[in-house]
């Protein structure tokens, strides 16, 4: 199979775009997991909720209204989830947390069905981001380039906040050792609440930006959950580096696997996952060295 340069560029951009979407989802999940050892399987449902809210708002006030308000709305759902359920589950142990958040997936799934129905919703790419751009000899949709740029921008912002600011140092200290962080006067629980809401907001944002690419269906949250979990297991729990590395690995293996070895594509990522678990069970870049 001979391919020209354009083909590789196109696939690389597709892979990057998928990676960035997964990154937006996995970063919230992995930091919540790392900071409080809390397993939130319903994270994917928040992504679906972001897509639905964005679709509904876009129908009323255009794409950008959905883009900006869906993350806020989903962060609001996060506040409710936290104060109603998760705060009580903090000391319940992983098994109870997995069961409750797994149940939450179905509760939220049916909630979206009741509110929005079973039919797939569509949402249009905004005029300013529609069309294609010629790049290195290929034409590529502007909207997908926008997703890549957004992912890079969010990564840079988080890298700055986590790596260079006092609150970032507090979050890293909390991930390293929550008891000692508390003994330094840090209210780790409140820090967790903030991180949880930001993570929910980012899940909502990724749902909102994914919505124009996919059809918005109730089960999209379930479909994205497994890739997100694979990303954080490969990348290692609790770290920004792990989330971006895992996302890139997943995006590239999945995309290039599908075009180069279609018959292997569906098992390739699982084989990689198994290999990581055998060779480095804590993942490539875990927060706790």
């Amino acid at each position: 199979m001979a391919h020209d340069l354009g083909f590789w560029v196109l696939q690389a951009l597709n892979a990057l775009q998928l990676s960035m979407l997964l990154f937006l989802l996995s970063i919230g999940l992995t930091v919540i997991f790392g900071l409080m050892h809390f397993v939130n399987l319903a994270h994917g449902s928040l992504y679906a909720m972001g897509a639905y809210v964005a679709a509904s708002l876009a129908a009323v006030g255009g794409y950008w209204m959905g883009f900006f308000l869906a993350p806020v709305a989903v962060a609001g759902v996060g506040v409710l989830l936290y104060s109603g359920l998760i705060r009580r589950m903090r000391r319940a142990g992983p098994m109870a947390q997995v069961l409750v958040t797994f149940g939450l997936i179905f509760a939220l799934l049916d909630l979206t069905r009741i509110i929005w129905g079973d039919l797939a919703l569509a949402i249009d790419v905004p005029a300013s981001l529609s069309g294609r751009l010629t790049l290195l000899g290929i034409e590529y949709p502007v909207y997908r380039l926008f997703i890549i740029a957004l992912g890079v921008a969010i990564f840079a912002t988080l890298a700055f906040v986590l790596g260079r600011t006092q609150i970032g140092a507090m979050i890293r200290a909390g991930v390293d050792n929550d008891c000692m962080a508390a003994c330094l006067g840090i209210n780790v629980e409140r820090l967790f609440f903030i991180v949880f809401c930001v993570g929910c907001g980012l899940a909502g944002l990724s749902g909102a930006v994914a919505a124009p690419l996919l059809s918005v269906t109730p089960d999209m949250g379930l479909q994205i959950l497994i890739p997100t979990l694979i990303v954080i297991v490969i990348g290692g729990l609790g770290s920004l580096r792990g989330a971006i590395a895992g996302s890139l690995i997943y995006g590239f293996v999945q995309t290039f696997g599908a075009v180069l070895a279609p018959q292997l594509a569906s098992v390739l990522i699982y084989a990689l996952l198994a290999a990581v678990l055998v060779i480095k069970p804590v993942g490539l870049f875990p927060a706790k060295g």
Binding site: Q166, A169, M170, R172, A173, V175, D176, N177, C179, M180, A181, A182, C183, L184, G185, I186, N187, V188, A287, K288, G289
Partner: protein
């Protein structure tokens, strides 16, 4: 300054402290001695709110102590744990700043410059990762971090454990300076000589209770107590 009355506490189902009572006086150093498993570290963790108290009362400056570790820390108690608990994801500088920036206030006693004067070794390693340090440097960092909280009471759990004799001497001298400066301290220690040379008051803990109270001179003279409670 800190009064523990009839404390019962432990880990999960396992009770370790059975009605422990002791008092630490302001401006003095209290050493808590005892064999492994006697309940010394459990006492400190209970003071810091890291272990739930099942019964008893803890008063700090005559008022009931806060329940949450972060409120206890803010009320003026700094804790240097046995495991040092340096944050591995933070540089030495960040490990210090996380205390300094939160407890600095307007005119703090302890500033970055001052702790680096006390522990110049740390100044050379500011941009190293927290766990790239040797055991002795980690202990210095843990104490420096505690001092930057500008505490009224400094609690140290086995500050000499696993350290080379020359570092033990250095830590001893630094703690002696802090004592002379009037800082109140509670020290849990297996090293009998180290503890008795620093302390103003000594309590001995066995099976979760205080079994002996007195001065360092008295415990040094009381070979029977040493034999019975400490196995020295």
């Amino acid at each position: 300054m800190l009064d523990l009355k009839d404390i019962e506490s432990g880990y999960g189902e396992t009770q370790v402290l059975y009605g422990l009572t002791l008092a630490a006086q302001a401006g003095r150093v209290l050493a808590i001695l005892g064999r492994n498993g006697a309940g010394k570290s459990t006492t400190l963790k209970t003071i810091m709110g890291l272990l739930p108290r099942r019964a008893g009362e803890i008063l700090f400056d005559g008022k009931p102590i806060a329940t949450q570790p972060y409120d206890i820390a803010k009320s003026g108690i700094a804790y240097v744990p046995e495991t040092r608990d340096i944050f591995p994801s933070l540089t030495v500088r960040e490990n210090l700043e996380i205390a300094a920036k939160r407890f600095g206030g307007t005119d703090p006693d302890w500033t970055m410059e001052r702790v680096l004067d006390v522990f110049p070794r740390l100044a050379e390693r500011m941009d190293n990762g927290g766990t790239q340090l040797s055991g002795g440097e980690q202990q210095m960092l843990a104490i420096a971090r505690g001092l930057l909280m500008n505490p009224r009471l400094l609690i140290l759990d086995e500050p000499t454990e696993g350290l080379a004799p020359i570092i033990v001497k250095l830590i001893h001298d630094k703690l002696q300076d802090l004592k002379s400066a009037g800082l109140s301290m509670i020290i849990v220690e297996q090293n009998f000589g180290f503890a008795t040379s620093l302390a103003d008051d000594v309590v001995v803990v066995s099976k979760g209770q205080v079994v002996w109270t007195g001065t360092p001179e008295a415990i040094k003279a009381d070979t029977e107590a040493q034999h019975t409670w400490l196995g020295v």
